[in-house]
Amino acid sequence: MLRAEAADGRPAGGRRPSAGWGLLASELGVLFRRRRTWAMLLALAAVPVLIAVAVKLSSSAPAPGKGPPFLDRVTQNGLFVGVTALVVSTPLFLPLTVGVVAGDTVAGEAGLGTLRYLLVAPAGRVRLLAVKYAGAAAFSLAAPAAVAGAGMAIGAALFPVGPVTLLSGDTVGVGEAVQRLWLVALYIAVSLLGLSALGLFMSTLTDVPVGAMATTVVAAVVSQVLDALPQLDWLHPWLLSHYWLDFADLLRQPVSWDSFTANAALQAGYVAVFGALAYGRFTTKDVLA
Protein backbone atom coordinates (compact mmCIF):
# COMPACT_ATOMS: atom_id res chain seq x y z
CA MET A 1 0.00 0.00 0.00
CA LEU A 2 1.99 2.93 -1.20
CA ARG A 3 0.90 6.13 0.31
CA ALA A 4 -0.41 8.52 -2.23
CA GLU A 5 1.81 11.39 -1.18
CA ALA A 6 4.92 9.48 -2.13
CA ALA A 7 3.85 9.37 -5.72
CA ASP A 8 2.20 12.73 -5.68
CA GLY A 9 3.61 16.10 -6.45
CA ARG A 10 5.94 15.11 -9.25
CA PRO A 11 5.92 16.74 -12.63
CA ALA A 12 3.94 14.50 -14.92
CA GLY A 13 6.36 14.80 -17.82
CA GLY A 14 9.97 14.41 -16.75
CA ARG A 15 11.07 11.67 -14.39
CA ARG A 16 13.40 12.67 -11.66
CA PRO A 17 16.20 10.18 -11.11
CA SER A 18 15.30 9.99 -7.45
CA ALA A 19 11.73 8.95 -8.20
CA GLY A 20 12.52 5.23 -7.82
CA TRP A 21 14.28 5.73 -4.50
CA GLY A 22 11.47 7.78 -3.07
CA LEU A 23 9.04 5.10 -4.15
CA LEU A 24 11.25 2.42 -2.61
CA ALA A 25 11.55 4.26 0.69
CA SER A 26 7.80 4.69 0.78
CA GLU A 27 7.18 1.02 -0.04
CA LEU A 28 9.57 -0.16 2.66
CA GLY A 29 8.09 2.30 5.13
CA VAL A 30 4.58 1.07 4.47
CA LEU A 31 5.62 -2.60 4.50
CA PHE A 32 7.43 -2.43 7.81
CA ARG A 33 4.81 -0.22 9.44
CA ARG A 34 2.04 -2.65 8.66
CA ARG A 35 0.68 -4.55 11.59
CA ARG A 36 0.56 -7.73 9.54
CA THR A 37 4.29 -7.58 8.81
CA TRP A 38 5.06 -7.15 12.47
CA ALA A 39 2.72 -9.98 13.40
CA MET A 40 4.49 -12.31 10.99
CA LEU A 41 7.94 -11.31 12.20
CA LEU A 42 6.84 -11.79 15.80
CA ALA A 43 5.37 -15.20 14.98
CA LEU A 44 8.69 -16.18 13.40
CA ALA A 45 10.59 -14.90 16.42
CA ALA A 46 8.31 -17.01 18.61
CA VAL A 47 9.66 -20.23 17.02
CA PRO A 48 13.08 -20.09 18.75
CA VAL A 49 11.48 -18.82 21.96
CA LEU A 50 9.15 -21.81 21.96
CA ILE A 51 12.02 -24.23 21.32
CA ALA A 52 14.21 -22.70 24.02
CA VAL A 53 11.48 -22.62 26.64
CA ALA A 54 10.40 -26.19 25.88
CA VAL A 55 13.96 -27.49 26.17
CA LYS A 56 14.54 -25.47 29.33
CA LEU A 57 11.37 -26.74 31.02
CA SER A 58 11.76 -30.40 30.08
CA SER A 59 13.45 -32.45 32.76
CA SER A 60 15.72 -34.49 30.51
CA ALA A 61 18.07 -33.02 27.95
CA PRO A 62 17.32 -34.08 24.36
CA ALA A 63 19.19 -37.24 23.41
CA PRO A 64 21.89 -36.81 20.77
CA GLY A 65 20.70 -37.56 17.26
CA LYS A 66 17.01 -37.34 18.18
CA GLY A 67 14.55 -34.62 17.17
CA PRO A 68 15.43 -31.75 14.86
CA PRO A 69 19.15 -31.36 14.07
CA PHE A 70 21.19 -29.45 16.68
CA LEU A 71 18.43 -29.70 19.33
CA ASP A 72 20.65 -31.80 21.60
CA ARG A 73 23.30 -29.06 21.59
CA VAL A 74 20.94 -26.39 22.83
CA THR A 75 21.42 -27.10 26.53
CA GLN A 76 25.18 -26.90 26.15
CA ASN A 77 25.24 -23.77 24.07
CA GLY A 78 22.44 -21.24 23.69
CA LEU A 79 23.56 -20.13 20.24
CA PHE A 80 22.27 -23.41 18.82
CA VAL A 81 18.70 -22.23 19.50
CA GLY A 82 19.10 -19.92 16.50
CA VAL A 83 20.32 -22.74 14.23
CA THR A 84 17.62 -25.16 15.38
CA ALA A 85 14.92 -22.54 14.85
CA LEU A 86 16.21 -21.81 11.35
CA VAL A 87 16.18 -25.51 10.48
CA VAL A 88 12.64 -25.86 11.80
CA SER A 89 11.23 -22.77 10.11
CA THR A 90 12.92 -23.12 6.71
CA PRO A 91 10.57 -25.72 5.19
CA LEU A 92 7.25 -23.98 5.95
CA PHE A 93 7.13 -20.92 8.22
CA LEU A 94 9.56 -18.77 6.27
CA PRO A 95 8.12 -19.60 2.83
CA LEU A 96 4.65 -18.99 4.27
CA THR A 97 5.41 -15.46 5.44
CA VAL A 98 7.38 -14.61 2.31
CA GLY A 99 4.52 -15.97 0.22
CA VAL A 100 2.09 -13.66 2.01
CA VAL A 101 4.24 -10.58 1.43
CA ALA A 102 5.22 -11.41 -2.16
CA GLY A 103 1.72 -12.50 -3.12
CA ASP A 104 0.31 -9.27 -1.79
CA THR A 105 2.65 -6.93 -3.70
CA VAL A 106 0.59 -6.15 -6.81
CA ALA A 107 -2.62 -8.05 -6.15
CA GLY A 108 -3.01 -6.32 -2.80
CA GLU A 109 -3.00 -2.90 -4.45
CA ALA A 110 -5.34 -4.16 -7.14
CA GLY A 111 -7.66 -5.67 -4.58
CA LEU A 112 -7.89 -2.41 -2.66
CA GLY A 113 -8.31 -0.39 -5.83
CA THR A 114 -5.14 1.63 -5.25
CA LEU A 115 -3.13 0.19 -8.14
CA ARG A 116 -4.40 2.61 -10.78
CA TYR A 117 -3.54 5.60 -8.63
CA LEU A 118 -0.01 4.30 -8.36
CA LEU A 119 0.15 3.97 -12.11
CA VAL A 120 -1.00 7.54 -12.60
CA ALA A 121 2.23 8.63 -10.96
CA PRO A 122 5.15 9.04 -13.37
CA ALA A 123 7.18 6.24 -11.86
CA GLY A 124 6.10 3.78 -14.56
CA ARG A 125 5.11 0.18 -14.32
CA VAL A 126 8.60 -1.28 -14.57
CA ARG A 127 9.87 0.84 -11.74
CA LEU A 128 6.81 0.08 -9.66
CA LEU A 129 7.36 -3.64 -10.22
CA ALA A 130 11.03 -3.33 -9.25
CA VAL A 131 10.14 -1.44 -6.09
CA LYS A 132 7.49 -4.01 -5.19
CA TYR A 133 10.03 -6.79 -5.64
CA ALA A 134 12.59 -4.90 -3.55
CA GLY A 135 10.02 -4.70 -0.76
CA ALA A 136 9.44 -8.47 -0.87
CA ALA A 137 13.21 -9.04 -0.95
CA ALA A 138 13.66 -6.82 2.10
CA PHE A 139 11.13 -8.93 3.95
CA SER A 140 12.96 -12.11 2.81
CA LEU A 141 16.02 -10.68 4.54
CA ALA A 142 14.16 -9.56 7.65
CA ALA A 143 12.33 -12.86 8.23
CA PRO A 144 15.32 -15.20 8.76
CA ALA A 145 17.12 -12.40 10.59
CA ALA A 146 14.22 -12.23 13.04
CA VAL A 147 14.44 -15.99 13.66
CA ALA A 148 18.23 -15.98 14.06
CA GLY A 149 18.30 -12.84 16.20
CA ALA A 150 15.50 -13.98 18.51
CA GLY A 151 17.10 -17.43 18.72
CA MET A 152 20.47 -16.10 19.76
CA ALA A 153 18.91 -13.70 22.25
CA ILE A 154 16.67 -16.26 23.97
CA GLY A 155 19.45 -18.85 23.85
CA ALA A 156 21.87 -16.47 25.54
CA ALA A 157 19.23 -15.64 28.14
CA LEU A 158 18.33 -19.22 29.08
CA PHE A 159 21.46 -21.28 28.40
CA PRO A 160 25.21 -20.85 28.73
CA VAL A 161 26.97 -19.39 25.70
CA GLY A 162 30.44 -20.51 24.81
CA PRO A 163 32.67 -21.68 21.99
CA VAL A 164 30.63 -23.50 19.36
CA THR A 165 31.32 -26.97 17.95
CA LEU A 166 30.95 -26.96 14.19
CA LEU A 167 29.69 -29.92 12.16
CA SER A 168 33.29 -30.92 11.46
CA GLY A 169 34.03 -31.27 15.16
CA ASP A 170 36.21 -28.17 15.27
CA THR A 171 35.45 -25.46 17.79
CA VAL A 172 35.19 -21.74 17.03
CA GLY A 173 34.83 -18.77 19.38
CA VAL A 174 31.55 -17.01 20.13
CA GLY A 175 32.35 -14.08 17.83
CA GLU A 176 32.92 -16.26 14.79
CA ALA A 177 29.94 -18.45 15.66
CA VAL A 178 27.61 -15.45 15.75
CA GLN A 179 29.07 -14.28 12.45
CA ARG A 180 28.41 -17.69 10.91
CA LEU A 181 24.84 -17.67 12.22
CA TRP A 182 24.20 -14.37 10.50
CA LEU A 183 25.72 -15.88 7.36
CA VAL A 184 23.24 -18.75 7.65
CA ALA A 185 20.42 -16.20 7.94
CA LEU A 186 21.76 -14.47 4.82
CA TYR A 187 21.89 -17.82 3.00
CA ILE A 188 18.23 -18.42 3.82
CA ALA A 189 17.37 -14.87 2.75
CA VAL A 190 19.00 -15.59 -0.64
CA SER A 191 17.05 -18.86 -0.77
CA LEU A 192 13.79 -16.94 -0.44
CA LEU A 193 14.52 -14.48 -3.27
CA GLY A 194 13.40 -16.93 -5.95
CA LEU A 195 10.17 -17.57 -4.08
CA SER A 196 9.61 -13.82 -3.79
CA ALA A 197 9.94 -13.48 -7.57
CA LEU A 198 7.48 -16.33 -8.05
CA GLY A 199 5.08 -14.60 -5.65
CA LEU A 200 5.48 -11.30 -7.52
CA PHE A 201 4.52 -12.98 -10.80
CA MET A 202 1.53 -14.71 -9.22
CA SER A 203 0.54 -11.38 -7.78
CA THR A 204 0.41 -9.77 -11.23
CA LEU A 205 -1.92 -12.51 -12.46
CA THR A 206 -4.79 -11.83 -10.13
CA ASP A 207 -6.63 -9.11 -8.23
CA VAL A 208 -7.23 -11.46 -5.32
CA PRO A 209 -4.18 -11.33 -3.05
CA VAL A 210 -5.09 -14.51 -1.15
CA GLY A 211 -4.95 -16.48 -4.39
CA ALA A 212 -1.43 -15.28 -5.15
CA MET A 213 -0.29 -15.95 -1.59
CA ALA A 214 -1.70 -19.47 -1.54
CA THR A 215 -0.23 -20.33 -4.93
CA THR A 216 3.21 -19.15 -3.83
CA VAL A 217 3.15 -21.14 -0.61
CA VAL A 218 1.84 -24.23 -2.43
CA ALA A 219 4.66 -23.88 -4.98
CA ALA A 220 7.21 -23.89 -2.16
CA VAL A 221 5.69 -27.02 -0.64
CA VAL A 222 5.34 -28.83 -3.98
CA SER A 223 8.97 -28.05 -4.76
CA GLN A 224 10.06 -29.68 -1.50
CA VAL A 225 7.87 -32.71 -2.09
CA LEU A 226 9.36 -33.19 -5.57
CA ASP A 227 12.83 -32.75 -4.09
CA ALA A 228 12.17 -35.68 -1.78
CA LEU A 229 11.29 -38.13 -4.57
CA PRO A 230 14.37 -40.04 -5.68
CA GLN A 231 12.68 -40.97 -8.96
CA LEU A 232 12.89 -37.32 -10.06
CA ASP A 233 16.56 -36.77 -9.32
CA TRP A 234 17.16 -35.29 -12.80
CA LEU A 235 14.80 -32.50 -11.80
CA HIS A 236 16.25 -31.82 -8.36
CA PRO A 237 19.03 -29.34 -9.24
CA TRP A 238 16.38 -27.13 -10.88
CA LEU A 239 13.97 -27.04 -7.97
CA LEU A 240 13.49 -23.82 -6.06
CA SER A 241 14.01 -25.47 -2.70
CA HIS A 242 16.84 -27.81 -3.66
CA TYR A 243 19.58 -26.03 -1.71
CA TRP A 244 17.41 -24.66 1.11
CA LEU A 245 18.76 -26.93 3.83
CA ASP A 246 22.34 -26.90 2.56
CA PHE A 247 23.06 -23.83 4.68
CA ALA A 248 24.74 -26.32 7.00
CA ASP A 249 27.75 -26.06 4.68
CA LEU A 250 28.43 -22.72 6.35
CA LEU A 251 28.81 -24.54 9.65
CA ARG A 252 31.67 -26.73 8.44
CA GLN A 253 35.36 -26.11 8.88
CA PRO A 254 36.57 -24.71 6.52
CA VAL A 255 33.39 -23.10 5.23
CA SER A 256 32.17 -24.74 2.04
CA TRP A 257 30.93 -21.99 -0.27
CA ASP A 258 29.91 -24.36 -3.08
CA SER A 259 26.29 -24.62 -2.00
CA PHE A 260 26.09 -20.87 -1.35
CA THR A 261 27.14 -20.05 -4.91
CA ALA A 262 25.02 -22.84 -6.40
CA ASN A 263 22.01 -21.61 -4.44
CA ALA A 264 22.64 -17.98 -5.40
CA ALA A 265 22.89 -18.94 -9.09
CA LEU A 266 19.68 -20.99 -8.93
CA GLN A 267 17.77 -18.22 -7.15
CA ALA A 268 19.10 -15.65 -9.65
CA GLY A 269 17.74 -17.86 -12.42
CA TYR A 270 14.32 -17.96 -10.77
CA VAL A 271 14.39 -14.19 -10.25
CA ALA A 272 15.28 -13.69 -13.94
CA VAL A 273 12.60 -16.04 -15.25
CA PHE A 274 9.74 -14.96 -13.01
CA GLY A 275 10.87 -11.33 -13.12
CA ALA A 276 10.59 -11.45 -16.92
CA LEU A 277 7.21 -13.15 -16.70
CA ALA A 278 5.98 -10.57 -14.20
CA TYR A 279 7.25 -7.80 -16.48
CA GLY A 280 5.46 -9.28 -19.45
CA ARG A 281 2.24 -9.65 -17.52
CA PHE A 282 2.30 -6.39 -15.62
CA THR A 283 3.24 -4.13 -18.53
CA THR A 284 0.54 -5.57 -20.78
CA LYS A 285 -2.13 -5.86 -18.12
CA ASP A 286 -5.28 -3.76 -18.23
CA VAL A 287 -5.45 -2.21 -14.82
CA LEU A 288 -9.08 -1.69 -13.97
CA ALA A 289 -8.89 -1.66 -10.22
Binding site: L167, G169, P230
Partner: protein, 353 residues
Protein backbone atom coordinates in the same frame (compact mmCIF):
# COMPACT_ATOMS: atom_id res chain seq x y z
CA UNK B 1 -0.54 -6.12 -30.41
CA UNK B 2 3.07 -5.68 -31.50
CA UNK B 3 3.85 -3.87 -28.27
CA UNK B 4 2.29 -6.63 -26.25
CA UNK B 5 4.50 -9.20 -27.91
CA UNK B 6 7.57 -7.06 -27.26
CA UNK B 7 6.80 -6.92 -23.59
CA UNK B 8 6.40 -10.66 -23.33
CA UNK B 9 9.73 -11.10 -25.14
CA UNK B 10 11.94 -11.17 -22.00
CA UNK B 11 9.76 -13.92 -20.55
CA UNK B 12 10.62 -16.06 -23.58
CA UNK B 13 14.22 -14.94 -24.03
CA UNK B 14 15.40 -15.31 -20.43
CA UNK B 15 14.64 -19.04 -20.08
CA UNK B 16 16.10 -19.69 -23.54
CA UNK B 17 19.34 -17.87 -22.64
CA UNK B 18 19.58 -19.71 -19.32
CA UNK B 19 19.02 -23.07 -21.00
CA UNK B 20 21.58 -22.32 -23.71
CA UNK B 21 24.10 -21.14 -21.10
CA UNK B 22 23.77 -24.35 -19.07
CA UNK B 23 24.00 -26.52 -22.17
CA UNK B 24 27.14 -24.74 -23.42
CA UNK B 25 28.92 -24.92 -20.07
CA UNK B 26 28.06 -28.61 -19.75
CA UNK B 27 29.41 -29.25 -23.24
CA UNK B 28 32.62 -27.29 -22.72
CA UNK B 29 33.36 -29.02 -19.45
CA UNK B 30 34.26 -32.27 -21.17
CA UNK B 31 36.67 -31.31 -23.92
CA UNK B 32 40.43 -31.24 -23.83
CA UNK B 33 43.22 -31.76 -26.33
CA UNK B 34 46.41 -33.37 -25.08
CA UNK B 35 49.48 -34.92 -26.74
CA UNK B 36 48.88 -38.62 -27.37
CA UNK B 37 50.15 -41.21 -24.90
CA UNK B 38 50.20 -44.99 -24.88
CA UNK B 39 48.45 -46.97 -22.13
CA UNK B 40 51.83 -48.04 -20.76
CA UNK B 41 52.93 -44.42 -20.43
CA UNK B 42 49.75 -43.59 -18.57
CA UNK B 43 50.18 -46.48 -16.13
CA UNK B 44 53.74 -45.28 -15.58
CA UNK B 45 52.42 -41.76 -14.96
CA UNK B 46 50.05 -43.02 -12.28
CA UNK B 47 52.78 -45.06 -10.63
CA UNK B 48 55.19 -42.12 -10.65
CA UNK B 49 52.59 -39.69 -9.32
CA UNK B 50 53.67 -38.20 -6.02
CA UNK B 51 50.88 -35.95 -4.91
CA UNK B 52 50.69 -35.79 -1.14
CA UNK B 53 49.27 -32.32 -0.62
CA UNK B 54 45.87 -31.45 -1.96
CA UNK B 55 42.46 -30.23 -0.98
CA UNK B 56 39.48 -31.18 -3.02
CA UNK B 57 35.84 -32.14 -3.14
CA UNK B 58 34.94 -35.69 -4.04
CA UNK B 59 31.65 -36.78 -5.52
CA UNK B 60 30.63 -40.40 -5.30
CA UNK B 61 27.59 -41.86 -7.01
CA UNK B 62 26.41 -45.44 -7.05
CA UNK B 63 23.70 -46.80 -9.25
CA UNK B 64 23.91 -50.48 -8.54
CA UNK B 65 20.22 -51.15 -8.86
CA UNK B 66 19.78 -51.53 -5.11
CA UNK B 67 16.77 -49.89 -3.50
CA UNK B 68 17.55 -46.89 -1.32
CA UNK B 69 17.51 -47.96 2.28
CA UNK B 70 15.68 -46.00 4.92
CA UNK B 71 18.42 -44.56 7.15
CA UNK B 72 16.00 -43.90 9.99
CA UNK B 73 12.59 -45.10 11.03
CA UNK B 74 11.20 -48.43 12.07
CA UNK B 75 12.51 -50.37 9.08
CA UNK B 76 16.09 -49.30 9.55
CA UNK B 77 18.71 -51.72 10.73
CA UNK B 78 21.43 -49.38 11.97
CA UNK B 79 24.50 -51.53 11.40
CA UNK B 80 23.71 -53.11 8.08
CA UNK B 81 22.06 -50.00 6.71
CA UNK B 82 25.05 -47.77 7.38
CA UNK B 83 27.38 -50.27 5.74
CA UNK B 84 25.17 -50.57 2.69
CA UNK B 85 24.38 -46.87 2.71
CA UNK B 86 27.61 -46.16 0.85
CA UNK B 87 26.45 -48.41 -1.97
CA UNK B 88 23.24 -46.54 -2.63
CA UNK B 89 22.69 -42.94 -3.58
CA UNK B 90 25.40 -40.34 -3.78
CA UNK B 91 27.78 -38.66 -1.40
CA UNK B 92 29.93 -35.57 -1.33
CA UNK B 93 33.11 -35.42 0.66
CA UNK B 94 36.01 -33.06 1.08
CA UNK B 95 39.49 -34.43 1.31
CA UNK B 96 42.65 -32.75 2.53
CA UNK B 97 46.12 -34.19 2.27
CA UNK B 98 48.85 -32.29 4.09
CA UNK B 99 51.83 -34.54 3.64
CA UNK B 100 52.44 -38.28 3.81
CA UNK B 101 50.63 -38.93 7.08
CA UNK B 102 48.20 -36.05 7.37
CA UNK B 103 44.75 -36.77 6.02
CA UNK B 104 41.34 -35.35 6.65
CA UNK B 105 38.19 -36.68 5.04
CA UNK B 106 34.84 -34.99 5.60
CA UNK B 107 31.74 -36.78 4.38
CA UNK B 108 29.16 -34.03 4.03
CA UNK B 109 25.69 -35.25 4.87
CA UNK B 110 22.65 -33.04 5.02
CA UNK B 111 22.88 -31.02 8.25
CA UNK B 112 25.55 -33.42 9.49
CA UNK B 113 29.09 -34.51 8.83
CA UNK B 114 31.36 -37.50 9.38
CA UNK B 115 35.04 -36.78 9.77
CA UNK B 116 38.21 -38.87 9.67
CA UNK B 117 41.34 -37.05 10.75
CA UNK B 118 44.77 -38.62 10.68
CA UNK B 119 47.87 -36.85 11.88
CA UNK B 120 50.93 -39.04 12.28
CA UNK B 121 49.76 -42.14 14.11
CA UNK B 122 46.79 -40.38 15.69
CA UNK B 123 43.49 -41.24 14.09
CA UNK B 124 40.19 -39.60 14.97
CA UNK B 125 36.67 -40.33 13.79
CA UNK B 126 33.96 -37.81 14.48
CA UNK B 127 30.22 -37.98 13.80
CA UNK B 128 28.31 -34.76 14.23
CA UNK B 129 24.90 -36.42 14.24
CA UNK B 130 25.34 -37.96 17.70
CA UNK B 131 28.40 -35.88 18.65
CA UNK B 132 30.71 -38.83 19.19
CA UNK B 133 34.42 -39.06 18.59
CA UNK B 134 36.57 -42.19 18.45
CA UNK B 135 40.29 -42.12 18.95
CA UNK B 136 42.75 -44.65 17.63
CA UNK B 137 46.51 -44.73 17.98
CA UNK B 138 48.09 -46.57 15.10
CA UNK B 139 51.02 -48.84 15.93
CA UNK B 140 54.35 -47.03 15.83
CA UNK B 141 55.53 -49.20 12.98
CA UNK B 142 52.98 -47.65 10.71
CA UNK B 143 54.79 -44.32 10.67
CA UNK B 144 57.53 -46.05 8.67
CA UNK B 145 55.55 -48.56 6.72
CA UNK B 146 52.55 -46.90 5.15
CA UNK B 147 49.42 -48.41 6.62
CA UNK B 148 46.36 -47.75 4.51
CA UNK B 149 44.30 -45.57 6.79
CA UNK B 150 40.57 -45.65 6.08
CA UNK B 151 40.79 -42.13 4.77
CA UNK B 152 43.16 -43.12 2.03
CA UNK B 153 41.07 -45.95 0.72
CA UNK B 154 38.54 -43.36 -0.32
CA UNK B 155 40.47 -41.54 -3.01
CA UNK B 156 40.34 -42.21 -6.73
CA UNK B 157 44.10 -42.78 -6.58
CA UNK B 158 43.70 -45.75 -4.26
CA UNK B 159 40.90 -47.21 -6.36
CA UNK B 160 42.89 -46.76 -9.55
CA UNK B 161 45.87 -48.59 -8.03
CA UNK B 162 43.59 -51.48 -7.15
CA UNK B 163 42.09 -51.62 -10.60
CA UNK B 164 45.52 -51.57 -12.21
CA UNK B 165 46.73 -54.27 -9.87
CA UNK B 166 43.85 -56.41 -11.02
CA UNK B 167 44.55 -55.68 -14.67
CA UNK B 168 46.59 -58.45 -16.22
CA UNK B 169 46.31 -60.41 -19.40
CA UNK B 170 42.59 -60.73 -18.90
CA UNK B 171 42.18 -57.00 -19.45
CA UNK B 172 42.43 -54.87 -22.51
CA UNK B 173 43.97 -51.51 -21.60
CA UNK B 174 43.41 -48.62 -23.96
CA UNK B 175 43.44 -44.83 -23.97
CA UNK B 176 40.10 -43.08 -24.28
CA UNK B 177 39.31 -39.54 -25.38
CA UNK B 178 40.91 -36.70 -23.41
CA UNK B 179 38.62 -35.16 -20.85
CA UNK B 180 38.39 -32.60 -18.10
CA UNK B 181 37.80 -33.46 -14.47
CA UNK B 182 37.49 -30.78 -11.78
CA UNK B 183 38.69 -28.21 -14.32
CA UNK B 184 41.93 -30.11 -15.01
CA UNK B 185 42.89 -31.70 -18.31
CA UNK B 186 43.09 -35.43 -18.03
CA UNK B 187 43.85 -38.58 -20.01
CA UNK B 188 41.38 -41.42 -19.87
CA UNK B 189 42.62 -44.93 -19.28
CA UNK B 190 40.08 -47.59 -20.20
CA UNK B 191 40.15 -51.09 -18.77
CA UNK B 192 37.96 -53.53 -20.65
CA UNK B 193 37.67 -57.09 -19.35
CA UNK B 194 38.31 -59.73 -22.00
CA UNK B 195 36.28 -62.31 -20.12
CA UNK B 196 32.93 -62.75 -21.78
CA UNK B 197 30.79 -63.55 -18.78
CA UNK B 198 31.69 -60.82 -16.30
CA UNK B 199 29.11 -58.19 -15.41
CA UNK B 200 31.67 -55.37 -15.61
CA UNK B 201 31.59 -53.70 -18.97
CA UNK B 202 34.37 -51.19 -18.60
CA UNK B 203 36.30 -49.28 -15.99
CA UNK B 204 37.80 -45.93 -16.79
CA UNK B 205 40.30 -43.79 -14.93
CA UNK B 206 40.90 -40.10 -15.65
CA UNK B 207 44.58 -39.29 -15.13
CA UNK B 208 45.65 -35.70 -14.50
CA UNK B 209 47.82 -34.65 -17.45
CA UNK B 210 50.04 -32.57 -15.20
CA UNK B 211 50.91 -34.79 -12.26
CA UNK B 212 49.50 -38.23 -12.99
CA UNK B 213 46.99 -38.20 -10.14
CA UNK B 214 43.87 -40.24 -10.90
CA UNK B 215 41.04 -37.70 -10.79
CA UNK B 216 38.11 -40.01 -11.34
CA UNK B 217 37.29 -43.67 -11.49
CA UNK B 218 34.09 -45.00 -12.94
CA UNK B 219 32.90 -48.52 -13.49
CA UNK B 220 30.21 -49.37 -15.99
CA UNK B 221 28.17 -52.52 -15.99
CA UNK B 222 27.86 -54.47 -19.22
CA UNK B 223 25.13 -53.04 -21.39
CA UNK B 224 24.66 -49.99 -19.19
CA UNK B 225 25.30 -46.49 -20.43
CA UNK B 226 25.65 -44.62 -17.12
CA UNK B 227 28.39 -45.64 -14.71
CA UNK B 228 27.23 -47.98 -11.96
CA UNK B 229 29.86 -46.55 -9.68
CA UNK B 230 31.74 -43.31 -9.97
CA UNK B 231 34.17 -41.52 -7.70
CA UNK B 232 35.50 -38.22 -8.99
CA UNK B 233 37.00 -34.97 -7.89
CA UNK B 234 34.54 -32.13 -8.26
CA UNK B 235 37.23 -29.57 -7.51
CA UNK B 236 40.86 -29.95 -6.55
CA UNK B 237 43.79 -27.76 -5.63
CA UNK B 238 47.33 -28.93 -4.95
CA UNK B 239 48.32 -26.34 -2.40
CA UNK B 240 49.12 -27.48 1.12
CA UNK B 241 46.00 -27.08 3.25
CA UNK B 242 46.15 -25.26 6.56
CA UNK B 243 47.84 -27.32 9.29
CA UNK B 244 44.95 -26.54 11.66
CA UNK B 245 42.79 -28.97 9.70
CA UNK B 246 44.82 -31.94 10.88
CA UNK B 247 44.87 -30.90 14.52
CA UNK B 248 41.76 -32.51 15.92
CA UNK B 249 40.60 -32.31 19.47
CA UNK B 250 37.29 -33.79 20.52
CA UNK B 251 34.85 -30.94 21.09
CA UNK B 252 33.53 -30.22 24.56
CA UNK B 253 30.49 -32.33 25.37
CA UNK B 254 31.28 -35.03 22.83
CA UNK B 255 31.29 -38.71 23.76
CA UNK B 256 34.83 -39.96 23.27
CA UNK B 257 35.60 -43.62 22.70
CA UNK B 258 39.12 -44.96 22.86
CA UNK B 259 39.67 -47.83 20.47
CA UNK B 260 42.57 -50.16 20.08
CA UNK B 261 43.99 -51.40 16.84
CA UNK B 262 43.03 -55.03 16.29
CA UNK B 263 46.22 -57.06 16.38
CA UNK B 264 46.46 -58.43 12.89
CA UNK B 265 49.63 -60.49 13.16
CA UNK B 266 49.26 -63.25 10.57
CA UNK B 267 50.89 -65.99 12.69
CA UNK B 268 48.32 -65.78 15.49
CA UNK B 269 45.45 -65.67 13.08
CA UNK B 270 46.46 -68.86 11.29
CA UNK B 271 46.72 -70.79 14.54
CA UNK B 272 43.25 -69.68 15.60
CA UNK B 273 40.97 -72.66 15.09
CA UNK B 274 37.97 -70.70 13.86
CA UNK B 275 40.01 -68.65 11.42
CA UNK B 276 41.35 -71.78 9.77
CA UNK B 277 37.99 -72.81 8.46
CA UNK B 278 36.79 -69.36 7.42
CA UNK B 279 39.08 -68.96 4.47
CA UNK B 280 37.76 -67.65 1.19
CA UNK B 281 38.14 -69.93 -1.79
CA UNK B 282 38.44 -68.43 -5.22
CA UNK B 283 37.61 -70.22 -8.41
CA UNK B 284 38.57 -68.73 -11.72
CA UNK B 285 40.90 -65.79 -12.29
CA UNK B 286 40.59 -62.16 -13.29
CA UNK B 287 37.28 -60.43 -13.78
CA UNK B 288 35.03 -63.48 -13.74
CA UNK B 289 36.45 -65.04 -10.57
CA UNK B 290 33.99 -66.36 -8.00
CA UNK B 291 34.85 -66.05 -4.32
CA UNK B 292 33.34 -68.52 -1.89
CA UNK B 293 33.10 -68.11 1.88
CA UNK B 294 32.34 -71.29 3.83
CA UNK B 295 29.39 -71.68 6.15
CA UNK B 296 29.51 -69.76 9.40
CA UNK B 297 31.61 -66.88 8.15
CA UNK B 298 28.73 -64.44 8.32
CA UNK B 299 27.73 -62.93 11.65
CA UNK B 300 24.86 -64.82 13.23
CA UNK B 301 21.48 -63.38 12.39
CA UNK B 302 22.70 -61.55 9.32
CA UNK B 303 20.96 -63.87 6.93
CA UNK B 304 17.63 -63.38 8.67
CA UNK B 305 17.94 -59.59 9.09
CA UNK B 306 15.27 -57.42 7.60
CA UNK B 307 17.62 -55.48 5.37
CA UNK B 308 18.83 -58.61 3.66
CA UNK B 309 15.39 -59.91 2.91
CA UNK B 310 14.54 -56.49 1.49
CA UNK B 311 17.52 -56.52 -0.82
CA UNK B 312 17.69 -60.14 -1.91
CA UNK B 313 15.31 -62.46 -3.66
CA UNK B 314 14.95 -66.22 -3.31
CA UNK B 315 16.48 -68.37 -6.05
CA UNK B 316 17.14 -72.07 -6.41
CA UNK B 317 19.59 -73.02 -3.66
CA UNK B 318 19.47 -69.83 -1.61
CA UNK B 319 18.96 -66.10 -1.77
CA UNK B 320 20.46 -63.85 -4.38
CA UNK B 321 21.57 -60.28 -3.79
CA UNK B 322 21.81 -58.85 -7.24
CA UNK B 323 23.43 -55.59 -8.29
CA UNK B 324 24.53 -54.39 -11.68
CA UNK B 325 28.22 -55.03 -10.89
CA UNK B 326 28.30 -57.88 -8.40
CA UNK B 327 26.04 -60.82 -7.59
CA UNK B 328 26.09 -62.42 -4.17
CA UNK B 329 24.52 -65.81 -3.53
CA UNK B 330 23.74 -66.83 0.04
CA UNK B 331 23.17 -70.56 -0.11
CA UNK B 332 20.74 -72.37 2.15
CA UNK B 333 23.63 -74.15 3.89
CA UNK B 334 25.20 -70.83 4.87
CA UNK B 335 27.92 -70.40 2.26
CA UNK B 336 28.39 -67.08 0.49
CA UNK B 337 29.43 -66.87 -3.14
CA UNK B 338 30.22 -63.59 -4.79
CA UNK B 339 31.50 -62.47 -8.14
CA UNK B 340 31.00 -60.13 -11.04
CA UNK B 341 29.26 -62.86 -12.95
CA UNK B 342 25.75 -63.93 -13.85
CA UNK B 343 23.74 -65.59 -11.05
CA UNK B 344 23.75 -68.89 -12.97
CA UNK B 345 27.55 -69.08 -12.66
CA UNK B 346 27.25 -68.60 -8.89
CA UNK B 347 24.62 -71.30 -8.64
CA UNK B 348 26.76 -73.64 -10.68
CA UNK B 349 29.79 -72.92 -8.49
CA UNK B 350 27.68 -73.49 -5.37
CA UNK B 351 26.59 -76.88 -6.70
CA UNK B 352 30.25 -77.76 -7.17
CA UNK B 353 30.12 -77.86 -10.93
Amino acid sequence: MNRTWKRWMPAAVVPAVLAAGTAVSAFQANTADLPAKTPAQLIEMIAASKVDTLSGTLEQTSDLGLPELPATGPGANAGAASALELLTGSHTARIYLGGPSKVRLQVMDRLAERDVVRSGNQLWFYTSKDNTASHLTLPAASSRREVPAPAQTGTPAELAQRLLAAADRSTEVSVGPDTQVAGRKAYTLMLTPRAADTLIGQASVAVDAGNGLPLSVSVRARGQQDPAFRLAFESVSFQTPSADLFRFEPPAGATVKQQTVPQAAPSTKASHPAAKGAKAKTSGRGWDAVAELPAGSLPAGFASSGVLSQLSRPVAGGRLLSTSLVNVLLTDDGRVLAGSVAPERLQAAAAGR
